[in-house]
């Protein structure tokens, strides 16, 4: 038996003093410097030229934001490679290694780094920051609603807080799984050395970073008081903050589009030998289909925000009926984006849940092909349901029934995926570790979110519930209770691979129970408010609703406390957690077969896949329990056919 000899690690390469070129001098500080400088130039020039014209203020804000975004990305080095390409100065291999973070230590996390693991980690931190911001805004909302006529926030500020809470959370949830895990984990899962386009990968991250200050600046520009949907003509009449909001979305669309393309190309073209499409880990399917759906949804977001900003900045009349526009045009295009976007958020975490369920039940994913078909069906149907958000607007009443039907149809593949999750756990030898707790919570929450969604798809019921707190409770159960809890399970599951350390599960269980109870109390309170008829997005309410609001607010405080404990657990784990073995969960997918920390190009030798991803328990006679696994050990990579099989592995060439 001969063991393959691994080549020297790339990260140990000694780079020359000029490796990296401009990248050597660029980091987040140069990004901030250039961003502020070009933002100032944008402000100065537009202010001098346009202030006093009809749309002066809007144009000044737009130019300033565009200047900031361009400047930040120039300073970060986002455009270095395209410009060098254009000038015919290709990057050398040393430049590429430098850009991948070789020899830079932890400073690479503050730079334009092309290593997918660095980008994944950067995304994880960004997502945590965004959830921190969004969560703080959520607590401001609930604090305002403690009493019917609270003076904590004035109505205008309250509306702005509601809007930005919504959009921050939408951005955070879109990238919460596709950012950290589709970047860090997925390439390793499929046996690739990196994403297909490492520079585009880094670009997608830093572009979205540049969007965040634009969004937060809205508070200082008069606030966006139109709700996260920013319906026209409200948004067209909003203060100048709306321009910054639109720029945020346009920049975000660029990032998500690039990331989606990169994910798809990576999976289609970079799989290891033997990693057929039928052997892809289920999480990969979720990431790819979510990415593809994002490619469908994002152009609509781009189109609607571009038209809205031109309505504001140049006086076009897309959405203003007084001058020939139509608010229905806005609503149609917005929801052509809006409903698929819900599944862009949902599919990757749901796929992660299936992935994790298989590992901890020590069973193959139940109905693997059916689940994949379910993802495809959901994605396909989700592009045909947008008008269910417009049942009460008066648009095309004759189409209400068809849209009700398509919406209700989508519950079928959703239910099938749900059954696949249950089937995976059914009669499994369930190993109840922290990720598994969150899977249970996901199942509970997702049932409630899903079932209440069916009510809302029904036209008569929607006529009653539309615009009230029932809807708020429904989508929070779906997006927070479902998607975000699924993502939380993913964080707990892959944390040892990302950080190299284990989480403290005792702290984790405290966080879990606070979160689990907090969600139920918060959102059952909101269902109650909805049943009573309380409208959403209102700063003051009838005292009749106070008991339900008190319940929801108390739950929200518990929920936020739970998230803080969870955050503490992450920080504690990252700094002082026990060193993680390479495969603490005895999982079968490839990311657990590589050492921790993961080498620069992931695999010391290229893997060849010879079996399905979930071969748990195979080879164990009926009636016997799956044997306990030995403490995790580094996998040995050996030439085909010569090594001892792992427990449950099935040999055979692909």
């Amino acid at each position: 038996m001969t063991t393959a000899v691994a080549p020297p690690l790339l990260e140990d390469t000694q780079l020359g003093p000029k490796a990296g070129g401009f990248y050597r001098h660029q980091n987040i500080w140069t990004g901030l410097g250039f961003g502020i400088f070009l933002g100032f130039i944008g402000w100065l020039v537009s202010h001098a030229l346009l202030q006093g014209s009809n749309w002066g203020t809007d144009m000044v804000v737009t130019c300033t934001m565009v200047g900031w975004v361009l400047g930040f990305n120039i300073g970060m080095g986002t455009f270095n490679a395209p410009i060098r390409w254009m000038l015919g100065h290709d990057q050398t291999h040393e430049d590429e290694l430098y850009a991948a973070g070789v020899g830079q230590g932890s400073s690479r996390y503050l730079k334009f780094c092309t290593d997918h693991k660095v980008v994944g980690t950067q995304y994880l931190i960004l997502v945590l920051v965004l959830f921190g911001v969004g969560g703080t805004l959520a607590m401001m909302i609930r604090t305002q609603l403690i009493t019917p006529h609270s003076s904590f926030l004035d109505p205008q500020t309250y509306n702005s807080v509601v809007t930005i809470h919504g959009m921050v959370m939408i951005i955070a949830t879109i990238i919460m799984v596709s950012g950290p895990f589709a970047n860090f984990i997925m390439p390793i899962m499929i046996g690739a050395k990196d994403m297909a386009f490492p520079r585009l990968n880094a670009m997608s991250f830093w572009v979205v970073v540049s969007a965040v200050p634009c969004l937060l600046s809205t508070f200082f520009l008069g606030g966006v008081n139109a709700g996260w949907t920013t319906y026209a003509p409200l948004s067209v009449q909003a203060p100048a903050a709306m321009d910054a909001f639109a720029i945020t979305i346009i920049v975000f669309v660029v990032s998500v589009t690039i990331a989606g393309v990169n994910t798809i190309v990576t999976v289609v073209t970079m799989r290891a030998k033997g990693m057929t499409m039928g052997r892809l880990p289920i999480f990969t399917w979720g990431a790819v289909i979510g990415g593809a759906l994002g490619l469908y949804a994002m152009p609509a977001f781009l189109a609607v925000m571009t038209m809205m900003i031109t309505d504001r900045v140049t006086g076009t009349s897309f959405f203003v009926p007084e001058v020939g526009g139509s608010q229905w045009l806005y609503e149609n295009i917005f929801w052509i984006m809006g409903h698929p976007e819900v599944y862009v958020i949902l599919l990757p975490p749901v796929a992660a849940v299936l992935e994790i369920a298989g590992t901890f039940a020590r069973k193959p994913v139940f109905g693997y092909k059916v689940a994949v078909a379910g993802f495809v069906a959901i994605a396909s149907l989700s592009i045909m349901v947008w008008a269910h958000h417009m049942f009460t607007t008066g648009w095309a009443p004759n189409l209400a029934a068809p849209f009700m039907l398509t919406t209700e149809l989508i519950s079928i593949p959703t239910g099938i995926i749900f059954l696949c999750t249950i089937g995976t756990l059914w009669k499994g030898s369930i190993w109840t570790r922290l990720p598994m707790w969150f899977i249970y919570l996901f199942i509970w929450n997702f049932i409630i979110g899903g079932v209440t969604g069916i009510y809302l798809s029904d036209v008569p019921a929607d006529q009653f519930f539309h615009g009230d707190m029932f809807v708020t409770a429904h989508f929070h159960y779906t997006l927070l209770g479902g998607a975000m809890i699924g993502a939380t399970a993913a964080v707990c599951y892959w944390f040892p691979k990302i950080s190299g350390r284990m989480l403290n599960e005792r702290i984790g269980k405290v966080a879990f129970w606070m979160i689990a109870i907090g969600i139920q109390v918060t959102y059952f309170g909101q269902f109650w408010e909805g049943f009573q008829g309380m409208a959403r997005r209102i700063a003051y309410y009838n005292p009749h609703y106070q008991a339900a609001n008190d319940m929801s607010t108390a739950g929200a405080y518990l929920l936020m406390s739970g998230w803080l404990v969870f955050l503490y657990m992450l920080i504690h784990g990252w700094r002082r957690g026990k060193i993680a073995p390479a495969n603490p969960w005895h999982a079968k997918t490839l990311e657990w077969k590589v050492p921790t920390p993961v080498p620069l190009e992931n695999f010391l030798v290229d893997p060849v896949v010879t079996s399905d991803p979930y071969t748990y328990g195979e080879g164990v006679p009926d009636g016997q329990e799956v044997p306990e696994f030995a403490p995790a050990a580094e996998p040995e990579l050996v030439p085909a056919g010569s090594g001892p099989p792992e427990p449950g592995d099935v040999g055979g060439a692909s």
């Binding site: 393959a4 290709d90 430049d95 290593d115 076009t316 009926p321 001058v323 020939g324 149609n332």
Partner: protein, 245 residues
């Protein structure tokens, strides 16, 4: 999941589209600064980049469809009769009730300018195609760069003419749905042309440095796909704007 055996190499860092064609296992490229720097086959790179391009074009096509949807939606709805400007009268004094002026009747945009721009984009795409053919048959860097240079020239003419058209339109953005959507088409075309010109300039400079030959012609093909798409989308927008006033 069992994994076994292996060979070193395949895709890794620096395996991206920008720059450095044909290193490693791919065909060698005269003038490349980093020979042997990468270890990805030319076939694999081409496969990745083509797929990326088709996906991006797919997304852009959806954007184009939404532009057309906007045109036909507003035209069909003709809200308050303001698709192409209101007829002002005593009953309709062309104000919004607050005394602010709103649209008056407007003239159709002269299609000549849009047609010239469309012709330029088609010619630019054609010359990129010729550059690709020249590279494919190893016609020499002078031949490839000449074609690429002419293509770039047409891109610049199209951009210039598009900017000029903004100056000579018989209406402004505030003159109703037709005016708004027409200018949206123009803005969208201009943005695409600027992106194409960036790539076109890169093609020309790189061709002048001899980066494209029989071994690397497929990289020009990628640019040709994009140029043809831009030409096609411009022709579609121009046709709709001209035929469905």
């Amino acid at each position: 999941m069992a994994i076994t055996e292996t060979d070193h190499g395949s895709e890794g860092h620096g395996s991206e589209g920008h720059g450095s064609e044909g290193h490693g296992n791919g065909p060698a490229v005269p003038g490349a600064e980093n020979p042997g720097g990468e270890h990805e086959t030319a076939f694999k790179r081409d496969q990745k980049e083509r797929l990326m391009l088709w996906l991006l074009i797919g997304g852009d096509a959806l954007f184009l469809i939404l532009e057309l949807f906007t045109w036909f939606y507003l035209r069909t709805l003709n809200v308050n009769g303001l698709w192409n400007g209101a007829k002002c009268s005593k009953a309709n004094p062309c104000t919004d009730g607050l005394g602010n002026p709103i649209t008056a009747p407007i003239h159709k945009a002269d299609p000549k300018h849009a047609i010239i721009i469309a012709i330029c984009t088609v010619l630019a795409a054609a010359f990129v195609w010729l550059a690709e053919s020249a590279a494919k048959r190893d016609a020499g860097k002078r031949s490839v760069s000449t074609m690429a240079g002419v293509a770039y020239l047409f891109m610049l003419v199209a951009i210039g003419w598009q900017i000029y058209q903004f100056q000579v339109l018989p209406f402004t953005t505030i003159d109703g749905g037709y005016a708004s959507t027409y200018e949206f088409f123009m803005g969208s075309t201009l943005a695409h042309l600027i992106l194409l010109a960036f790539i076109g300039l890169g093609l020309w400079i790189r061709a002048s440095k001899g980066r494209y030959s029989g071994a690397t012609w497929y990289r020009v093909r990628l640019i040709r796909f994009f140029a043809v798409w831009i030409a096609l989308s411009t022709v579609i927008l121009v046709s709709v704007a001209a035929l469905f006033y």
